[in-house]
């Protein structure tokens, strides 16, 4: 399809779908049915647009759409699901920390180290049992630029190491029935529980980068927050409006 026709076809997509193509991100708070309309628009993308240049970022398929599908299941039709996704990637000046020099030994002349902190996904969902779920995913990329001189030749190489930090917080409603899980969570998962007027369960974990596995890993982190309220304990939330 020629560019003029492709552009016209993209113009017919859902506005957030267009945002994912042109701005590589989205930010919206909508009801599950409205998010389903976006997913439906994304589902028809490949049939209309063939060029990869204009494809939505791959995390849309691997992470965003599965999470929208899963979280929408746990919401009332009038609940609000707020998503802010910055899928541009880590290499933007506002995400980079200043460079610093590391101590070196010959033949290495210098090592410069800097980080990119990329909080690329934030989600807030009002669940149908009255609890509120907050989720954030942050990529922390460590860059090291190494300069060394071997037999008079100057050589440089750059290394990167990516860690994905997933943090979830579930604020239960005030009178929610709670049961502490009989089995402790896995060792790679950090759990903190605060039992004030509303119980708050915060879970977090770090993973090596693997976008294909990320949506399931995010759900593993979320699972601990829901093990405290096993099926059958939950009661419907009272409507406030």
């Amino acid at each position: 399809m020629f560019w003029r026709k492709t552009k016209a076809a993209i113009g017919n997509f859902h506005p957030l779908h267009q945002g994912l193509i042109w701005q590589r991100g989205l930010s919206a708070a909508m009801r599950p049915a409205d998010w389903a309309a976006l997913v439906q628009s994304l589902a028809g993308h490949d049939a209309v647009v063939k060029r990869r240049k204009w494809a939505p970022p791959h995390r849309t398929h691997h992470v965003l759409v599965p999470l929208i599908r899963v979280l929408s299941q746990d919401m009332r039709p009038d609940g609000v699901l707020a998503i802010t996704a910055d899928l541009r990637g880590p290499d933007f000046p506002e995400k980079l920390t200043p460079q610093r020099d590391l101590a070196v030994q010959r033949p290495i002349r210098s090592i410069k180290e800097w980080y990119s902190i990329d909080p690329w996904l934030r989600i807030r969902a009002e669940l149908r049992d009255g609890s509120v779920l907050d989720l954030s995913v942050t990529d922390r990329v460590r860059y090291r630029k190494i300069h060394k001189v071997v037999r008079g030749k100057h050589k440089t190489k750059q290394k990167t190491k990516v860690v994905q930090q997933v943090t979830a917080t579930r604020r239960l409603r005030r009178d929610a029935p709670v049961r502490q899980p009989a089995v402790p969570p896995p060792s790679w998962l950090r759990v903190r529980v605060r039992n004030d007027r509303r119980m708050v369960i915060r879970t977090s974990a770090k993973f090596p980068k693997d976008d294909a596995q990320l949506s399931e890993r995010i759900l593993y982190v979320l699972t601990e927050a829901f093990r405290w309220t096993p099926p059958g304990l939950a009661r419907p939330a009272r409507r406030t409006s």
Binding site: Q40, Q73, R128, T223, P231
Partner: protein, 129 residues
């Protein structure tokens, strides 16, 4: 007294409700008015979850699993597999068995948990006379 309140509903009322399992982490049963039993599992099923093939949404998802999250049925097929995998990841057999027990509990009349996931106006159609 509000008949749609959180207290236990009457058994005859629950017999006519759709018991298709809904939700992913916050599990519930649909709770809409059932129109027919599923041809395969026999659970009461509402118009929304009753397919032209006579199957409920759960049986349809199990019969033709999809791997694409763009498909509306994907979550139903994915949920059971996820509970099984996460149960192994956590080393917590009760996590899966709790889900399984709850899902199968839909076939026991009078044990439904309706979380109001359907779009009702809060009073389930009851009006003051």
């Amino acid at each position: 007294m509000d008949p749609a309140g959180p207290g236990p509903a009457r058994e005859e009322d629950q017999l006519n409700r759709c018991t298709v399992t809904s939700g992913f982490f916050v599990l519930g049963h649909c709770g809409r008015t059932a129109v027919a039993p599923c041809a395969q599992c026999g659970r009461p099923t509402c118009q929304e979850h009753y397919g032209p093939d006579g199957l409920c949404a759960e049986c349809r998802a199990a019969a033709s699993p999809t791997r694409s999250p763009y498909d509306e049925q994907w979550v139903r097929g994915y949920r059971r597999g996820y509970y099984s995998r996460s149960s192994q990841t956590y080393g917590d057999a009760t996590w899966y068995s709790g889900f399984d027990e709850y899902d199968r509990g839909a076939f026991n009349p009078g044990q439904g948990h309706y979380l109001g996931d359907y779009d009702h106006d809060g009073d389930d159609g009851f009006v003051d006379s």
